[in-house]
């Protein structure tokens, strides 16, 4: 990383850590959700943006993560922080297993299969045989965590910091993963899978593992959402949740790590503004933005910023 990038990141982190002391508790909660969405979007972006595999059903992994956490807290009395590695591992396994049949599907067909998963998900979660654990239609309510070690923080502030630290770790890991050998392999598979295979990249292992890692990220985001909202129910994991993730990565920027953050800010705050017009307005706006971005800014906000920076650097060089 260049020195300028390090400075920008340091400033961003300083702002992120100062935020909950400046804004109202409700805004803090909203920013907590932004962090959670950013993790989920990063997961989907690793799969769709970097590896070229579609998922219109990533809400499924978000739901698995959320339910894992809720059930562990509710039934087994786990502390909330201890559920994250477990739900991450469970989602990794589920994602890997779903990635195996997905190996045989390309482009459109994978989109179709995952779309089917996304649409049928609420029904699967309401299934009678697992009602004992999932609470059926009613869902599960869990308690709000308090700040530990006697820290002088309100619960909302503590949750924000908890999610922020998890997010920083996950973003750092993803950045490290994607800038090296593994990242190049993923992009090679996306752009030319036959050439990648010929260069000795094991497509099958890489693709299904990517599905697993992507599901793990989204699953951990789901866990964090269960902890921060203190509630899970089947109908909040409908197809529109999966579509919202798609909106996030397209608008934030395909195949971009920072795009996850822009996308998360967009899907959290734009509906809030649009809600005042009509209950249906946020989705109409999402749809219009989706089409507009595909036509005008195919690399999303992150791509737009890249272009502006490049133009600026060029201009400085010339003068």
């Amino acid at each position: 990383m260049s020195r300028r990038q390090l400075i920008v990141i340091a400033i961003l982190l300083a702002v992120a850590f100062a935020l909950p002391f400046v804004v109202s508790p409700y805004r803090t909660f909203q920013f907590t959700l932004v962090i959670i969405y950013a993790i989920a979007l990063l997961g989907l972006n690793i799969l769709t943006g970097f590896n070229g595999q579609f998922s219109l059903g990533h809400g499924a992994f978000y739901a698995i993560g959320a339910y894992c956490t809720a059930i562990l807290i509710d039934q087994a009395g786990f502390p909330y922080w201890a559920t994250l590695p477990i739900s991450g591992a469970v989602c990794l396994a589920f994602g890997f297993l779903f990635g195996l049949p997905a190996l045989r599907l390309e482009g459109l067909y994978l989109a179709l299969a995952t779309f089917a998963l996304g649409v049928s998900l609420p029904q699967l979660l309401k299934y009678k045989a697992i009602e004992k654990w999932t609470g059926g239609v009613q869902g599960i309510v869990i308690a709000k965590p308090e700040a530990p070690f006697g820290l002088p923080l309100k619960p909302d502030q503590w949750l924000y910091f908890f999610c922020l630290v998890v997010a920083i770790v996950l973003f750092f890991v993803a950045w490290n993963l994607l800038r090296g050998r593994v990242g190049r392999a993923l992009v090679a598979i996306r752009d030319q899978h036959i050439a990648a295979e010929a260069m000795g990249i094991n497509n099958a292992i890489y693709k299904s593992l990517t599905f697993g890692v992507s599901a793990m990220y989204t699953g951990i985001a789901g866990s964090l959402s269960a902890i921060s909202i203190q509630f899970v129910a089947p109908d909040s994991f409908n197809i529109f949740l999966s579509i919202i993730f798609l909106v996030g990565i397209v608008i934030g920027g395909i195949a971009s790590i920072s795009g996850a953050i822009y996308g998360a800010l967009f899907i959290q705050f734009v509906p809030n503004i649009a809600d005042e017009i009509s209950k249906a307005a946020p989705w109409a706006i999402f749809g219009i933005f989706l089409i507009a971005f595909v036509y005008l800014m195919p690399y999303g906000i992150a791509g737009g910023i890249r272009i502006v920076l490049a133009w600026w650097a060029q201009k400085r060089q010339n003068s």
Partner: protein
Amino acid sequence: MDAFLHQILAGLATGGIYASLALALVMIYQSTHLVNFAQGEMAMFATYIAWALINAAGMPYWAAFFLTVAFAFVFGVVVERVIIRPVESASVLAVVVVFIALLVILNSVTGWIFTYTMKTFDSPFPKGLGLGVYMSPHEVGTILVTLVVLVLLYAFFRYTPLGLAMRAAAQNPDSARLVGIRVGWMLALGWGFAAAIGAVAGMMVAPIVYLDPNMMGSVLLYAFAAALVGGIDNPWGAVFGGFLVGVLENILGAYVIGHELKLAVALVIIVGVLTVKPSGLFGKVLVTRV
């Protein structure tokens, strides 16, 4: 036994609806190799138009029916020309995103105009059409309408010059263009027909599931399953798949897994067919040259 027979016949009736929507999907797939994720919402939107024509404008049912089909046709053509055309040769991701965008726009705009409360949509078929305990009038009517649509489509594609031109444009766009067929407009017409068939499916399913902006979600899923079982590039396969999925769904729902897991049937069929036999029962096996 009577109950079992009833389940099969009722399955055939909903199967007819799935078959229509699957046919709409196949029409678009054949000419553009795209799967239209917004097909269900387009049908839903058209059904709302029909509802408005009947209940707000006070039109008789069949007048509203045909007017809606005509509207859906024009709507399909316009959507192709304005929204799909610019991304035709773009990446798969761009196309899927545009379809999803169309889906959410139609869904929210309908919710905006007509609100999200459920509405009843009366069946137009007279009581005398029913077959006693075996089939309700609406079920018989649905099957009849499906068959009429099929015969009309077959006749159109088989016996009219325009139908021939559309088939040519779908099968071999380059050669078709060389003999003077306007391929772009043929694709747009294909979208129009698909939207019109979808509108018929929507109006047939509305009396069963009630009218609500999310009503086509599960129907679309079954239509996907139907199109895939039959082979997504084969119209006859799609129709067969539709009836098969309808019957399967009904029997499994009634006797094996219960009603609350019905959608899982579609999920299993879709993932199963795609992984085991992606070309479906009657589809062409695709061989790509590297």
